[in-house]
Symmetry: C2
Subunit: 349 residues, 2 copies
């Protein structure tokens, strides 16, 4: 029988951070596509739209006016999923019917006053302003809340309801599922090995190089060994860093650089503004600021849904929802494809 080749032979891979497996089916790359084709994205976004609540000077549906901002702008979501206070469910002693209080706040961060720019097109200084805002809000909301989830939904194919460059921040009194699991796995690893899991992981990936897409003096951008989405990537500092606010001035500048570079590659993939959901995970905050969180390492995840073209996406349905995520393209093939893409944005060529 032939030797095992990860780019040829089906196998499963383990994600030590989420304590989960992914099914990898590289032999299936040649399958014809007969499924749903998405609408191409709106090609031209106007710089200013008097009906867009995120544009400077526009009156939002609730009567509040978005000010004439000229860099980033933060405000509380007009329809927040979490509220700062309210009645709490009574405690229940039935293990099958458990509810708990879930307080929090939901913010929107506009990245730039213009609707027609995106992070890879913005100047390095403008991206740096976004990074500083992320760090600042993590400190502000982290005073009170256990978890501050900074995330960006980009592209209408990805459920984003507004093309203006922005992200959201949902801070909560509870530790949500994903960071709860990562807290457990990173703690177990740290207890066993005495070093943070993701610091070790980055060191090993830097030696292997096969899944690295980009690196600079302070950061590494890679396709994780256990990636689920076709072009899923992970961005990590080379140093052990717990939270966004702990990044030095040089690390923030280097983060602005590598962010522009990677998002340029993403956009160049199908010559379209690449849709994704991204977010930051770092050590918990609020009451957990005083705990030992040395097992944590700051990292960002990018989950882009596109598979074959600007209009064909990967559906995480059926088998994925009921059993386990499945991918065709391997992590190594995705990394190579991303590495080989041009470094100059297709719109700037």
């Amino acid at each position: 029988m032939a030797n095992f080749d990860p780019n040829e032979h089906p196998h499963i891979r383990f994600n030590p951070l989420k304590d989960e497996w992914v099914t990898v089916s590289p032999h299936r790359m040649k399958r014809p596509w007969q499924g749903q084709v998405e609408k191409p994205q709106e090609s031209e976004v106007p710089r200013f739209d008097p009906k867009n609540p995120l544009c400077p000077g526009v009156t939002r549906p609730n009567g509040k006016v978005t000010p004439e901002y000229d860099s980033t702008y933060v405000f509380t979501n007009d329809f927040p999923a979490l509220l700062e206070e309210g009645p709490e469910p009574a405690p229940s002693d039935d293990p099958l019917f458990q509810a708990a209080a879930g307080f929090g706040t939901c913010k929107v961060i506009c990245f730039h006053p213009h609707s027609d720019v995106t992070l890879p097109i913005m100047s390095k200084e403008e991206v740096r302003a976004v990074i500083d805002k992320w760090a600042e809000i993590n400190v502000d909301l982290g005073k009170k809340y256990t978890w501050v989830q900074i995330f960006e939904n980009k592209g209408s194919i990805n459920g984003c309801s507004n093309p203006h460059p922005h992200c959201q921040v949902w801070a909560s009194s509870f530790l949500p599922n994903e960071p709860m699991v990562k807290n457990r796995t990173q703690k177990q690893y740290y207890t066993k090995h005495g070093t943070p899991m993701l610091v070790d992981y980055v060191k090993k990936e830097l030696q292997k190089q096969e899944r690295i897409v980009l690196q600079n003096d302070h950061w590494v951008w890679l396709v994780p060994y256990w990636a689920v989405w076709p072009y899923e990537t992970m961005l990590l500092p080379q140093r052990h860093v717990l939270r966004l606010e702990d990044l030095t001035n040089e690390e923030r500048d280097a983060l602005a650089d590598i962010t522009k570079q990677l998002l340029t590659k993403y956009d160049n993939m199908f010559e379209v503004s690449f849709p994704y959901s991204m977010g930051w995970h770092g050590a918990p905050t609020g009451p957990q600021l005083k705990d030992d969180n040395q097992h944590w390492q700051l990292h960002a995840m990018y989950y882009p849904p596109l598979l074959r073209s600007a209009t064909v996406k990967k559906f995480m349905v059926g088998y994925e929802m009921l059993a386990q995520p499945q991918r065709d393209l391997t992590a190594e093939q995705a990394a190579e494809k991303l590495r080989n893409l041009q470094d100059i944005h297709y719109k700037l060529r």
Copy 2:
């Protein structure tokens, strides 16, 4: 302060089966929708399409001919994600780079020779033939494989590439993530309480009645307390049953009845053939057939993506991917809405 009302006040709920939480934001029901609108589904599917590989008598792209079947028809997927054999990855002692063999087989079950029928429109006898086929394939593939995942992706909005009524069966040598977690949680509950979790759960829901959509002598169809998707439902036998093949003749007939009834309600919701991913979970098979699996209870899950209309779906993106699922409509509101829908299919009125 007002008393806590689950249909008014945000809270979080626990899913004891998946050991996870869901964020419930009922106050957000009035949020305006500005996001992506999906293409309406193809309204007319031809009964026979000479290019559709699932239709009787059609030659598939790989040269095989689908026979002139007149009830259900099972064949091996022409592009299976899992293969029956092949080289295996070498064992690794690095906890961060773990791969394992993943063998299996992928089948397609056509429900009916006609492309223009769906389960709620089919006769009771035709639905019963599908149920018998599910039980039969669980026995057949369960002889060898640890997990036999029967699932249906329905609707192009849900990634289904073929409108012909069919489901898929992916059987694997490994226990995938979802059943692995459910195996653990059900075992823990059984060890602690001496009764199967889901048998207890159904008894309690039958007493409460507030999340029951349909019930008959043998089955209960409900919106689980911890539902994530807007109209997510769960279908369970009233008796303790480990696997599909253990269902009696009467239970299978009653399952055909309730399946037609619920799917009729689903279709009547937006007067469209309601998209969903569904699947069956029962006790593991293969080498685990000889283990004690009394903690397991057979159940089916339905995960429909639609939220507000036939063209507006719930996106599980950003916060959901990075932190925790979030819903606006409560499980109780969804159950009431489903209960109140007509029992006669809109196409048959």
